[in-house]
């Protein structure tokens, strides 16, 4: 699960300076639109996308026309994410240039993603303890039991099957539902909110605003409910931790709670779906070793997280920051007030620090830190939970279904389109 950065860690190819990229859909369609895979041009799987060649910071522009400094080299990306002179809140200040044509959940100025310094830390502390490696490790046996139960059902249901609806979606939904105590939440409502929360072109700006208002209403109700009757869940514990802080506002809490709901399942589902697209097509040779032990699955998870992006990055060319003073990055002076995008996807493939590709390195430890979960103060809150879910899901799927394969070519996959993330809508498999 990735409450912070998770969704915005979607990297990008910049609009003006990028290498020939994937074809973009002529008419963006809703992820839930009835148009089938044949109605839209095919898209390449995420592991096949072209990337920006790392180089010095260069000026590009966003779809809104706003100039943006694109930062792509591994050390430069690290600096952007950790340098306190490069901040999130000024991205939403009154003088800030427009970043998005249809602002979504991540553009909420009250969201934890968009606070800096002490404001950010105050809010993050209310949830941080639940997401440390030790805290997450305690959930491992329970998550493994959910994985096994889903696999039992999948196998009972029989081959062929849609692995998205049977496995990659219900697993992270079950995990975040248990953590946050959301039993009984209607899956259709959740999917509706998630689609709008990360929408770029799938939905109109008013539709996104309407859905987010409704989602915030759900968050406010949930908070009121847990204040009245606290339970053994993350919402209750964060409210308890926030109780004595006057500085934490109600809109911040609402944004945090609904952000956790979305980040808690969307990105893990996306990553798992796209990892399976790779592993069951170009990377099929690794399937047997993935089944052999959890250590191999853990190593593969790390490399997949590094090399398979969450989305096309055509709208969000990296993780945004705004310079509050002149800052030198990689030998270039970025003027105060500039918007900077840290292209974590390019940095994750910087040939200065990473060699080899998924085919040769899948089970090798990474040679340098990867920035899929970001770095610095906004490093993904759910990084350890996401890793654990992915490791268990991949290892146990490979162990239970050694002959698993895609029933169709990867080129004809029906994708969820028009969101910050891209993953299969459905993925037919057989065994």
């Amino acid at each position: 699960m990735s409450a912070e950065n998770s969704a915005t860690r979607v990297t990008t190819s910049p609009v003006e300076t990028h290498a020939p990229g994937p074809p973009r859909p002529a008419t963006p369609s809703s992820p839930s639109s009835p148009s089938g895979p044949t109605a839209l041009p095919p898209l390449p799987p995420l592991h096949c996308l072209r990337r920006l060649e790392p180089g010095p910071p260069r000026l590009g522009s966003l779809p809104t026309g706003t100039p943006v400094w694109l930062v792509s080299r591994h050390p430069d990306v690290r600096q952007v994410l950790a340098d306190p002179r490069l901040r999130r809140a000024p991205l939403y200040a009154p003088d800030a240039p427009p970043l998005s044509l249809a602002p979504n959940l991540l553009d909420d100025p009250q969201g934890i993603l968009n606070l800096d310094g002490a404001d950010h830390q105050r809010l993050r502390r209310t949830v941080q303890r639940a997401f440390t490696p030790r805290a997450i490790a305690r959930w491992r046996p329970w998550v493994a039991s959910v994985v096994e139960a889903l696999l039992d059902e999948l196998i009972d249901q029989g081959s062929p099957a849609d692995i998205i609806s049977a496995y990659t979606r219900p697993l992270p939904v079950a995990v975040i539902s248990r953590l946050m105590g959301l039993d009984g939440l209607d899956g259709k409502r959740l999917a509706h909110w998630s689609d709008h929360a990360l929408s770029t072109t799938a939905h109109s700006a008013p539709a996104v605003r309407g859905a987010m208002d409704e989602f915030a209403g759900f968050g406010a109700e949930l908070i009121a409910e847990r204040r009245a009757a606290p339970g053994d869940d993350l919402v209750s514990s964060l409210l308890e931790a926030a109780r004595d802080s006057d500085a934490i506002t109600e809109p911040q809490l609402v944004s945090l709670v609904i952000g956790l709901v979305v980040a808690g399942h969307e990105t893990t589902m996306t990553m798992l779906g796209n990892a399976l697209v790779y592993l069951l097509s170009d990377g099929r040779e690794a399937w047997q070793r993935l089944a052999s032990d959890e250590q191999s699955a853990a190593a593969a998870t790390e490399q997949l997280l590094r090399a398979v992006p969450l989305g096309d990055g055509d709208v969000l060319p990296g993780l945004f920051r705004r310079a509050v003073e002149d800052v030198e990055i990689g030998g270039v002076v970025i003027p105060a007030g500039s918007v900077v995008a840290a292209d974590t996807r390019a940095a994750n493939h910087d040939p200065e620090v990473f060699t080899g590709d998924l085919l040769t390195e899948l089970f090798s430890p990474p040679t340098a830190p990867m920035y899929t979960f970001g770095a610095g103060p906004h490093h993904c809150l759910g990084a350890w939970l996401a890793r654990m879910e992915l490791e268990l899901a991949l290892h146990r799927l490979a162990r239970r279904l050694p002959s698993l394969r895609l029933t169709g070519p990867a080129e004809s996959i029906d994708w969820r389109r028009g969101l910050l993330t891209r993953s299969p809508n459905t993925l037919q498999v057989a065994w």
Binding site: R78, A82, G117, Q121, P377, A383
Partner: protein
Amino acid sequence: MTPDADRPAPDAAGDPVVVRVDRDRCIGSGMCALAAPGSLALGADGLAHPVREAAPHGGPADERLTVALVDAVDFCPVEALALYSARDGRLIAPSV
């Protein structure tokens, strides 16, 4: 006699401690530097380091146990920090 009788007394504020930073794990979140600014800081490389360097003769730095320091260690997002008793080397935080 209780089973706990042989255990050392719990650490109290002001006891000498040693804080260690695993710089391979550190991702420069800065949570520690904000929580315990007197004890931990981010360096020019963006990674955390103890504010008090070790004593010149190689002995432990004069670091004392505070609630803020335990918090800083407990809240590290990647568990790059560890706090030990300077008396007997026991792990004080992160709490298991």
